[in-house]
């Protein structure tokens, strides 16, 4: 299957550009939807919307804090998807959450809710290849693009299998660790991107540990683009407002577009 997320990212790549996919936590602050619009206007190719989970095992302190604040404010998966429905964001969106949120609602119901809300893709970081079957069946049936993660620890034989199962793009995990901004780009980021580029034609985006425009540019010498999460969410936590978050995304855009 192919969808609008993958088509959009391929188009950016095939025209010689690099893909920029910011992540922001759904429901974080009353103006979060305005932030989504601002991020789209600032040059995002697609946007990841985090649906908060009580026990986000892959996430570092920044996204944990954002999750906690949103959950305390009473945000639910339903309220986030309701807000996205008809929001006319202008770029494709993908939801990132944890398996239990989708499982609790029912795989098929969750997939159809994403479609109804205009969401193109879904990322469930605790549902690896071995367990993805039931979700993938529901997602494929509904037309949701399931993005799979590929980590530096994967042996070579595993990568083509991940790439075949992944739709939208392939999410290369840039380092051994959880989400968060690091002072420097890990050496593992370009290595995993290169290994994936060798085995797939799908867009390869690196996330986890890509926190500055310079890091985004560096890893995109090999990768097709980046996912930027904690840096964006930190701006939201700092109450920069839609405008301030948009400015950060515009900096990434400008850096990736080059002189």
């Amino acid at each position: 299957m192919s969808g609008v997320l993958e088509a959009t990212l391929r188009s950016r790549r095939d025209s010689g550009g690099k893909c920029l996919v910011p992540y922001l936590t759904g429901g974080l602050g009353p103006d979060w939807l305005d932030t989504v619009h601002a991020v789209a206007a600032a040059g995002a190719d697609a946007i990841e919307i985090g649906v908060p989970f009580s026990d986000p095992g892959m996430d570092g302190p920044t996204i944990q804090e954002a999750n906690d604040i949103a959950l305390e404010a009473g945000v639910t998966p339903q309220s986030i998807l309701d807000s996205l429905r008809g929001a006319d964001i202008g770029v494709p969106t993908a939801v990132m959450t944890y398996g239990n949120i989708a499982y609790r609602m029912g795989w098929e119901r969750f997939a159809s809710m994403l479609v109804d809300s205009g969401v193109s893709g879904c990322i469930l970081p605790d549902i690896p290849l071995e367990e993805v079957g039931p979700w993938a069946e529901a997602a494929d049936g509904a037309g949701v693009e399931t993005v799979m993660l590929a980590a530096p620890t994967a042996p070579d034989e595993r990568l083509p299998r991940i790439c075949r199962r992944s739709h939208g793009f392939v999410y290369a995990v840039g380092l051994l660790g959880i989400t968060g901004v690091r002072a420097e780009l890990a050496a593992s980021a370009k290595i995993i991107a290169g290994r994936l580029k060798n085995v797939t034609d799908k867009p390869v985006l690196v996330g986890v540990g890509v926190g500055t425009p310079a890091q985004a540019v560096e890893v995109s010498t090999v990768a097709d683009g980046v996912v930027v999460g904690s840096a964006v969410v930190q701006r939201m936590l700092d109450r920069a407002g839609p405008e301030g978050v948009g400015e950060l995304v515009a900096e990434f855009r400008a850096a990736l577009d080059g002189p």
């Binding site: 026990d55 095992g57 944990q64 609790r104 609602m105 605790d126 799979m148």
Partner: protein
Amino acid sequence: MGDPEQGRFGEFGGMFVPETLVPACQQLDAAFREAWIDPAFRAELTDLLNNYAGRPSALTECSNLSEELGCRVLLKREDLNHTGSHKINNVLGQALLARRMGKTSLVAETGAGQHGVATATAAALFDMDCVVYMGAVDIERQKLNVFRMQLLGTEVRSAESGSRTLKDAVNEAMRHWVAVVETTHYCLGSVMGPHPYPWMVREFHRVIGDEARQQCAAVLDGGIPDVVAACVGGGSNAAGIFAGFADSDARLVGVEPAGGAAVGRAVPGIVHGSHSYLMQDEWGQVLEAESISAGLDYPGIGPEHAHLAATGRADYIPVTDAEVVDAFQLLSRTEGIIPALESAHVIAWLSKARHELKGQTVLVNLSGRGDKDVAQMMDILK
């Protein structure tokens, strides 16, 4: 029935971990599979269990308690093991395995501190670096065990997120592991988590059930007890003793804290690597368990227990904190054995169900000793 060796207990189990950890789980699965049929590994583990941990643990006939309750109570004395609980069985196995895999460090989570102390002990014995995550709330109520771990050379880190108890310590230990997975073994302390842990940890604790089966046969003229009962948080001591009686007619009973009764609510979910029963709200957000006992203060349960409950092979029954406080005193007073608050849950059930159990023989896994709980009980009872 599913296949525990493939990580499936009926519909429960699995390997729900971030992609980064999948190869490590698969490596662990292969290493355990190989070690478990290697006579040299088994001999080394048995030697440690016997000559370091003090196995086999005794089976104690409780005449005074039996008289008081009207049922015959046999205690499997895991409280007499080195470090004070059943946890050492699993930890020695995993530490040996970690060394065999060339890992130089251990990371673990702990609730009451029993698993943390056992892991710290093994790390000292095998000269490995060790970090233990413990909820901030538990650090406060189990100070003695924190000091014990530090004395053994382990770094205790406080889990400050969420409910700041066992659930959050597991989150932090897993986050830690993702970053250092190539050099570090995650010494998970219960029959939970991703495959192979639920299966492997049960196998390391099977020794409890195997010994008890033989010991019971010796005192019951070759027979088996009517009931085999154990407390259940994640469910490791219960899995261990049940393993020895799964193929028998004995009734299997897991006793849950009322504030953390994952089976009692019977809602399936996915967290910490496996598909099992999980306390959660209507959206799938994990709820915070609330128990007097830090070791049972956990909103989930191992997948094998979910399967045993779903198929009706085992019963899972809740008891309240107040009933546990009474039971803690009852066993101390009648038998001169101060139980861990976790283990006191089983005694609380016996006391509550005494009419139903009249004339029956009940084997209780006394999973740990109560030294760690004495300060907390002093506050409660004064």
